[in-house]
Symmetry: C2
Subunit: 266 residues, 2 copies
């Protein structure tokens, strides 16, 4: 998996890049099954909506083998190494559920706003990568991105601790209106296995999901090693303290694990 210069230019200009079906059906099926097993667990890394449905599971790469392989997957690590020109460590890893019928809103925000304020990250030299486990459709709460908003830099934000169960530094409506007037809104959709990369300062949010279609997405935040966080305040399962560079696994490691599970089941 190598990004072309055109893809890199596009990312730098628009602030996001979508790579359809980067993982195949077998790899995705394994990850979905493992995600459900994790959501069923009662553990501090698993956060829930106000009604009890799973909202996000943190740090699954530290306690689940399939997600460990995903978190060190060369199809994700190599392109980001190329963009940043250095090696990476995992700043955050989560599986967001956006459950059928009950998935709640994520208000408009920049992720770097939180990484800077709460974690002491020096620069927005960390990349968000979302791996679709379900088909993302216009109707089941896709991520909404404001193209080119990453060029606005780090914007003023307010700590929202009320709207949902997850505290977030969110932007005011005037700022979002201004940026949307310039860049519009895109909602990248696609089949399971698709991968969306976006800049740490790209403004994004998502509406609730009232449909029967779940919309599970794995988020990796890959930080440049030199950009390690200086003054963390959040638990280490949310903002990791292991700054050692990620050694990518083999490209077929996840696929082989999936085949192994399948063979065992037959």
């Amino acid at each position: 998996m190598h990004l072309s210069q055109e893809q890199i230019d596009d990312f730098n200009e628009q602030g996001w890049l979508f790579l359809p079906e980067l993982f195949d059906a077998g790899e995705v099926a394994l990850l979905k099954r493992e995600a459900e097993a994790i959501y069923a667990q009662q553990r501090p890394e698993v956060w829930r909506e106000k009604n009890g449905a799973p909202r996000t599971a943190f740090a699954a790469h530290t306690y689940n083998e399939a997600f460990r392989l995903l978190g060190a997957h060369p199809r994700l690590i190599r392109p980001v190494e190329r963009i940043f020109g250095e090696r990476l460590y995992m700043h955050q890893f989560k599986i967001n559920a956006k459950a059928a019928f009950t998935g709640e809103v994520w208000q408009w925000h920049q992720d770097y706003g939180t990484w800077k304020r709460d974690d002491g990250m020096p620069e927005p030299k960390a990349m968000n990568i979302s791996v679709f486990l379900d088909e993302v459709m216009p109707i089941n709460g896709p991520l909404l991105l404001v193209p080119r908003s990453h060029l606005a830099g780090d914007l003023e934000a307010t700590h929202d601790v009320e709207t949902t169960s997850y505290p977030l530094w969110t932007l005011d409506n005037e700022t979002v209106t201004r940026l949307v007037a310039q860049g519009g809104i895109v909602a990248p959709t696609g089949k399971p296995g698709g991968v969306l990369m976006f800049h740490g300062n790209l403004v994004h949010g998502s509406a609730g999901n009232i449909t029967p279609y779940p919309r599970r997405i794995v988020y990796l935040t890959l930080n440049a090693v030199s950009n390690f966080i200086r003054t963390p305040t959040r638990p280490s399962f949310i903002a990791h303290r292991d700054f050692a560079p990620i050694e990518p696994v083999a490209d077929d490691a996840l696929g082989r694990m999936a085949q192994g599970f399948q063979a065992a089941a037959e």
Copy 2:
């Protein structure tokens, strides 16, 4: 405005019909301006979201001239008369805001569920008509319809008085999942002036709107005169008691009013 036999067959089979740009830009501009003036009023017909933003304004056809003309517009009245084979009266008339940033969810429901239980309407022989005042996009909380679900008849429902400020007889997740497995979900979108008709038993809902794009829609519920409500329990501005057949106005009545306003402004 006449529906073709093909359109009528399609409506009977799918439970909905979309007529793009039935009203022109001048007509829509007039209605938008009048809607905002109504939302700004403090009156019992104007209901608000929990945060104070307008959610819906009832019965505007009884106290606003532009909406009076819309409520008797031949482009809306004639097609429904044709489908039901008799004359119509206005059962309900409302302007739903789904305001930018704050528009909240409408849970999955059938409108006839409420008309029957709360108003004593004998049969689902009333038509929902929605007139788009803004562009309806996939991202600003479009109406989500479950095609063919009207064929399931009147389904069991629960009175939801908690989720939003508006009490509604809503369906359970198992029922919605079953119907969506059969019919899928469609989200008709289109420019201002488009008109969506759907059957009183068609299952529908809508997610919240977190975008800066408002999504105002006028809803007319046109009931067959013979199907007048027998045991109303809701205020008369929500479930009307004037069962006299609607006399359609001239096709250009709304357009002429819009031109008059424009001429006066120049």
